[in-house]
Structure formats: structure tokens, C-alpha cells
Symmetry: C2
């Protein structure tokens, strides 16, 4: 089987795409732009990547894996609250360091991407070991950490916080809520969830229903 001259490869394409996004934002991610940066005609990319959707997915996997590597490094040699704090700090640092990259994360149920996401959760899980949580409760806890950090990061990356309060302080509080909460519930079972609170009837939609929109 011929190895062919070492030229582009799927990985290299992802590299180019990543730099493009870093510099020009997620909206600039187009096969045409990637091809141009790679010094190649657009259709050539299809030799390495099935289509734009796949490129996005590959990028997402790369980003999540990079992120996992970072936070893994941050956790090394620390444990419990220290570890969680370091992990969450490193996570946010990554996002702040590559804001566009984070908001380019795929919004699709690609299993490949979801697996990469679970690889991130694995690191969180490891950092959580010191709390001695039960197997499945550890998973819930790790998910909570991921949700909290991810939510904060997404919102911060898209500039969703308007008020003047410092985001650093907000993040400190978030770390505190998570770490503190996990700390106090080590080796305890989940408390019985309260009875579901009945919803007040949803307020009626404020506007005309979308069909019969044209009077006439």
C-alpha cells in the first residue's frame, strides 16, 4: 500500500481549522477558508475529511482532549478541594485562552464527541476520588462539576454577563459552592429528593400562534 508523499492529513486539516477559529472566530470556519490557509483547493479537503460536519466533530474531539490533558495536569499531586479548585481554574484558563475555540464546540449528538466529553469527565472523576464517593454518586458529582464549569465558561466566552461585578469573584464562589457541597456530602448517600413541586400553569404564549400568521 503506497504511503504517498506526506502532505495534508485529517489531523493537519484540524490543526488549520483550529487556528482559523482561534483567530477569526467560529463563524469563519468554512471549508473554503481552511483550504485557502492550507494552500490547497477546497475539494481537496474531502480527501481527508468527509464533510464540514465531520471536520467540526473532529475539532470538538481535539478541543475536548486538549482540555482533558490540561486539567489532568492541573490535578496532578493535589487532592480533594485543592484538586477541584485547580481543575476548575485550569478549565477556565483554557477557555479564556481560546475563547472562540470553546464556542466552536460541536452542538450535535456526535457519539465521537460525546465520548471525548466523557474523557473530560473521567479526569474530574479522578480528581473526585479523594472524596470517597460511591461509584454512581461520583458520576453525578463529576457531571455537576462539568455542568457548572461548562455553563460558566460558555456564558463568559460569549460575554453573557453584563454587570460590572468581577467574574473572578463569581468563579470563586462557584468553586466554593461545588467543592464545599461535595465536601460536606462525602460518604453520604443522596438525601431523599423533595417531592416534586407542582408547576404553576405555564403563562400563555404572548403572541399569536405562528400559523394563521397572515391575516388576509
Amino acid at each position: 500500500m503506497p504511503v504517498a508523499r506526506a502532505a495534508l492529513s485529517a489531523d493537519a486539516v484540524v490543526d488549520v481549522a483550529l487556528h482559523l477559529v482561534d483567530e477569526d472566530g467560529p463563524a469563519a470556519l468554512t471549508l473554503a477558508a481552511v483550504a485557502s490557509r492550507a494552500g490547497v483547493a477546497t475539494p481537496s479537503l474531502y480527501k481527508h475529511v468527509r464533510n464540514l460536519a465531520e471536520l467540526r466533530a473532529l475539532m470538538s474531539v481535539r478541543i475536548l482532549d486538549d482540555l482533558a490533558e490540561r486539567i489532568r495536569g492541573a490535578v496532578l499531586g493535589r487532592s480533594a478541594d485543592e484538586a477541584i479548585r485547580a481543575l476548575m481554574m485550569a478549565w477556565r484558563d483554557y477557555v479564556l485562552g481560546h475563547p472562540h475555540r470553546y464556542s466552536a464546540l460541536d452542538q450535535a449528538p456526535e457519539p465521537m464527541v460525546a465520548q471525548a466529553g466523557d474523557r473530560v469527565v473521567d479526569v474530574v472523576l479522578a480528581a473526585l476520588r479523594a472524596y470517597g464517593l460511591e461509584d454512581s454518586e461520583a458520576i453525578h458529582a463529576a457531571r455537576c462539576v462539568r455542568a457548572a464549569v461548562h455553563g460558566f465558561a460558555v456564558l463568559e466566552a460569549e460575554n453573557a454577563f453584563q454587570r460590572p461585578e468581577k467574574l473572578d469573584e463569581t468563579y470563586d464562589l462557584l468553586i466554593h459552592l461545588v467543592a464545599g457541597g461535595l465536601h460536606t456530602r462525602q460518604r453520604n448517600a443522596l438525601p431523599a429528593p423533595r417531592p416534586a413541586t407542582p408547576e404553576p400553569p405555564a403563562a400563555a404564549s404572548r403572541r399569536a400562534p405562528p400559523h394563521e400568521v397572515r391575516a388576509k
Copy 2:
């Protein structure tokens, strides 16, 4: 000034777009599709909406305002932990009820959208009043609630959790972390943040740098 026949309007266009997204997912949001649903030629939409980006922004505002209304209803008549729990439950219910809608939320620093986001935070703020937090700490707390719920919701909506554990339980834990943590810190100042943890040097990028990608 002639009012003209009551036909389409910006609001009506947003209605159509919202239904489109609800049914066919965020990727299906295209002016052509909206126009077709509205029974109108594509360029006609420009009489009501400046361009696709503005339509997206308007949609985001609507979604966030709907959401704010829902959670406002959920909080009515409850306070403290009860209120937070109800709020978070209602929030997730909204997202689960319109999964596509939530992931169609604008990812751009549109100030209009950010303001709508802050309107959501206002509701959270109100729900937090019972905790008697200081002004600015209340804002931090509200942001934490938003971040946690948003993160969870985004991840759940895009199916990012793979493991078999029930998401309901995870969410219960998340509520518990947030509510519990806020509870124990009522009327307390922020604890002195720990000294910044020095980062281990970032692991070297695993792949060739994106320029000089083409040998030869």
C-alpha cells in the same frame, strides 16, 4: 402614516422561526425555510428583519424572555431553598420541553441578547432575596445559579452525557450543591480566596504546528 394590511411582522417572523427550530432543529433555520413556512418569498423577510443574524438575535431574546417568565412563575410564593429548587426545576423543564430551541440560542455578543440574559438573572436574583445576601454577592450567587443550570441544560440538550446514570439524580445533586452552598453562606462575606495555584506548564501541543503543514 399608513398602517398597511396586517400581514407579517418582525414578531410573526420570529414565531415562524421558533416553530421551525422546534420541529427541525437549529440547523434548519434558514431564511428560505422561514419564508416558505410563512408563505412568502425569501426577500420579503428583509422588510421585517435586517438579516439572518438579527433574526437569530430576536429569537434568542424571545427564548430568554419566555424562560424568564416561566421561572418567574415557578418562584412565586416560595422562598429560599424552595424557590431555588422550583426555579431550577422549571428551567430544566423548559429546556427539555424545547431542546432545539435552547441550543439555538445565539452565540454572539449581541447586547440585546445579553440584556435578555440579565432579565433571567433578575428573576434568579429575586428568588435569592430570601438568603439576604449582600448586593454584589447576590449577583455572584445568581450568576452561579445561571451558570450551573445553563451548563447542565446545554449538555443535556446536546446529549453530552453518555453514562447510564439517571440525569434526574444528577440534577438533584446539582440543585443541592447550589441551594445548600448558598444556604450555608447567607450573610457571610466571601472567604478569602486561596492563593492562586500555580499552573503546571501546559502540555506541549500534540501535533505539528499548523503552518509549515505541507512538507515539500
